[in-house]
Symmetry: C2
Subunit: 283 residues, 2 copies
Amino acid sequence: MGFWFSESHTDNVKLNILVDEQLYSRQSNYQKIDIFQSREFGRVLTLDDVIVLTEKDEFIYHEMLIHPAMAVHPAIRRVLVVGAGDGAALRELCRYPDIEAIDVVEIDGTLVEACQEYLPSCAVGYSDPRVTVHIQDGLKFIRRLSDVYDLIIVDSTDPFGPGEVLFTKEFYGNCYKALREDGIMINQHESPFYSYEADAMKRAHRRIKESFPIHSVYQAHIPSYPSGHWLFGFASITFDPLKDLDAERWNALNIPTRYYNTDLHRGAFYLPNYVKDMLGEGR
Amino acid sequence: MGFWFSESHTDNVKLNILVDEQLYSRQSNYQKIDIFQSREFGRVLTLDDVIVLTEKDEFIYHEMLIHPAMAVHPAIRRVLVVGAGDGAALRELCRYPDIEAIDVVEIDGTLVEACQEYLPSCAVGYSDPRVTVHIQDGLKFIRRLSDVYDLIIVDSTDPFGPGEVLFTKEFYGNCYKALREDGIMINQHESPFYSYEADAMKRAHRRIKESFPIHSVYQAHIPSYPSGHWLFGFASITFDPLKDLDAERWNALNIPTRYYNTDLHRGAFYLPNYVKDMLGEGR
């Protein structure tokens, strides 16, 4: 037995995943939250019927969200994570003993509770004593802050629904202000392949450029996301993602990773021509 | 109106593509050949119900199949292409004026005819006077050859059905013999994500290692293939894919590409840890 969960990548393309059981389903104040047990991908978290993570490949997304910035900036002590209700971004951050404090701002407390119950391999990140959880709106939280963080991680959903505010010029400007003078902001940057995500990607990049002097995009292979070709933004005030990569320092930390390594770090920033054209970054 | 073409990536995962029209369908002596008109991907070629190429993203596969070797070996004059009935690998090769002769060995003449009629943007490669088409078995063709080619492109289907022989130790050994002393063999190397392709990938890599002293694997984002994370093999007698990359020479050729560039060339060889582990290449 089982049933097919179906996600529309466009009006004309769908990915279907065989599911044995629906473990959780609730309409929170912000979104519809579902967790399925699937055969190929293990547990699958969806928000408003869009896959947010699967147990099989979330390691790719979360390693690539966290480790590139950590291998560039040599002294990250205070971190803000916006979104990331599942906790897996925290799990990766907590591998670094030098990080002193991590604030998480997640608008949807129901999502945090659901992940703590049904996705313990992600939510393990919440158990670290350095983590402080703030259940509130990310934009409101960050507006009042100035010169606080070395790293801000914007682990948003797509820019439609509750995640929309995390793709605005106002939000990026506030992130810049909340960073210390050599801070880095990493964001979930959508995908170049289907026009729906590609348009969002172009908009986000234009807005980030208006706030940050250094603005690069890097890529990863994430099979459960539409097209499998996913992007992240590296926005920074002083550090360059390639020139300032300190591979020796990062490798000496002996952090276990299944996707990220410091060679791949370099490769991830070397984008295809069609993506460079979309970003207006020239060839 | 329209109907959904459905490809099973595993028993538990399917990609569905909305199709307006079936343009072609025939059972040849070797395989079932279908060509569809789809909304998202343009025309789609399937063999035995598996997507071989789509008009929207075939440029990624074919650029990555051809240009990396051409940017490494400075004097490629004679090329053999095994498989590639669609002609798009030829199209990319024919952009190089220094190539003198290209042999194509395709087992299925019906496939060549179908692509010439319905996929002209791929089959354009057949019209170059340097191309000679041999409709016969690739293994039989290559067995009798020694010290002939600078480059062999193995543009096979999956290693099940007519493509199976192109993944054998005997075939790779014959490719080695058919190459000149500094020759390169590039092959379609399956994918690391789903176990079906990953097992084929590991087998192919083990066998290539037995014949070639230099054996690397590189990757590309190909959304219409299972998981979107696809690999190519770079097997070589003397040239190293990174140390011998001559970016300046290649860029001076001014070959138009939408995916490949010489920075991305480097990045494509920097594999994720889990893929390196599968290949037994160490970290």
